[in-house]
């Protein structure tokens, strides 16, 4: 515990960059997955292609992807952008299917009604389809958030600092307290992400908690 007490500042700085490296890709990934998921739904032939491609992307080992990034993007080896882009790819890989399935969960008679009322494409998407897909998308987002928090720690191996540094450094220098601190901090961060997504979902879906009262 003394180690932790002496290093609050370091832990906090590392945690902050961990939040950025895991959080920004989560938002970017969602924004990219939305049109892709919509397209997978819209053109049924695209669905298997997009789903298997995104599934394959997720199987690329994170270390390999981190190392490849500077080559593909032409960035510096230590640039955190490498991590952000790689993590965004993982998030998209996880969320395309979620978004497509979420949009698919909207009842058909509701969609028919929306069309028949005179909802045009884009308005129907944002006004009817997306709000009704929120529960499914939020569930996928929670998985992606936890996965991001865990994968980002690997970036220590390519020299981009975040909470993973506590693990590598603790391992190199035999400081058990530092390793435990790193694990606990990651878990806490994952829980915070999870809680925030849950809160957002609740705010966006008041209709799901409406009590069934009949009169």
């Amino acid at each position: 515990m003394t180690w932790v007490n002496d290093h609050w500042g370091d832990i906090f700085t590392l945690a902050r960059s961990h939040v950025w490296l895991a959080g920004v890709p989560l938002i970017l990934g969602l924004l990219i997955a939305l049109p892709l998921g919509w397209a997978a739904r819209r053109w049924s032939r695209l669905y298997p292609v997009l789903i298997s491609t995104s599934g394959l992307l997720y199987t690329i080992p994170s270390l390999a992807l981190f190392v490849l990034m500077p080559i593909i993007l032409g960035t510096k080896v230590l640039d955190p952008v490498n991590v952000v882009v790689a993590m965004t790819i993982y998030t998209v890989a996880l969320l395309v299917r979620t978004v497509a399935d979420g949009l698919g969960s909207v009842p058909d008679h509701v969609l028919q009604a929306a069309r028949a009322m005179g909802y045009g494409g884009l308005r129907r998407f944002f006004g009817v389809e997306l709000p009704l897909a929120v529960p499914v998308i939020a569930a996928g987002l929670r998985v992606a958030a936890v996965s991001n928090v865990s994968i980002v720690s690997v970036a220590s191996l390519i020299g981009v600092p975040q909470l993973g540094n506590l693990l590598t450094d603790g391992y190199d220098r035999f400081i058990t307290a530092e390793i435990i601190a790193g694990i606990v901090a990651c878990v806490v961060l994952a829980l915070v992400f999870d809680g925030l997504i849950l809160l957002g979902e609740r705010l966006l879906t008041p209709w799901r908690r409406a009590q069934v009262v009949r009169s």
Partner: protein, 376 residues
Amino acid sequence: MIRFDDVTKQYPDGTVAVDHLTLTAPTGKITVLVGPSGCGKTTSLRMVNRMIEPTSGTITLDGQDTGRMDEAEMRRGIGYVIQHAGLFPHRTVLDNVGTVPRLLGWDRKKTRDRSRELLERVGLAPELADRYPSQLSGGQQQRVGVARALAADPPVMLMDEPFSAVDPVVRDQLQDVFLDLQSELGKTIVFVTHDIDEAIKLGDQVAVLRVGGKLAQVSDPAYLLTHPVDDFVADFVGRDRGYRSLQFQPAPRLPLRSERTLVVGESTVGLTEPWVLVVDDERRPLGWVEPARVNGEVTSEALHRGGTVARASGSLRGALDAALSSPSRRGVIVDDSGTLVGTVRGHEVLSLIESAERPDVDRPDALAGHRGEGLA
């Protein structure tokens, strides 16, 4: 006026859903499309607002080809009600009703005022406005569906089995509310149902379709019941069509008898009749009582309530049913305010029916209609 002109819908696999349909739905009237499953009635309806594209033929709204209109814009001018209401689960009742006005760009205040007004008109309590659809019963949801279709006051309404998914009692109420609204609003309505009773109750004009999407007969309901054009239509309109057609024959002056009545609390002692009618303080009939069984004060529980009550200004069907359903065999007849005017016997109604004229077989307007291949 909605006009189908030689409209056909054929799917890529070769199935013909609608086969050369030519039909006019007159302005301000309810046209019911009725037929067994697979007769193309829903497909026909959905081609009106281009939810389904016809393979050939044209559909016009007041002379304008719907194929040449902007789809979204055209649909905002057509009210649409479907079977399970199709309400938006994520929006409150009030916001659901305001859907089309908002799409048309009305401001918030005007939309909400209009939505509240419509909820009242379809008979929903104002406190339901802020609920979500999942918090309503099936019948209430369907009322919201009707209110939503009416919100922007469209001249045309398309209704696809709107009352099929609710229980018979609620369905009856919804139909009455709907007819009430229509008598005020006079919309041009195309209504799809598989239920011939509903078609006959609601339709100003009924079009019977057969499997394969061919029009078998179109006429007003009374004529349909008395003059089915072929065996298919005859079977479809049902076995008791002779009885049901009586509902379109207004009862002439009924030979009413006055009836001895009691009110709840009075004694039956000394009465010799097997059945005596019990009324309330304003002489509205409550039910029949058997004095021999009660032998004392008439209580509300002792009343036999099986008999129907017919209005003197109603149809022959109502009068006959009142007589047939009454335990005393005397049918109870009331005036428009529900006050007892007398009773009538079954054989008296029957002789009125026998002496009444049947609708003319050679009525030219019905025969000139679109009968498909029926009597060809």
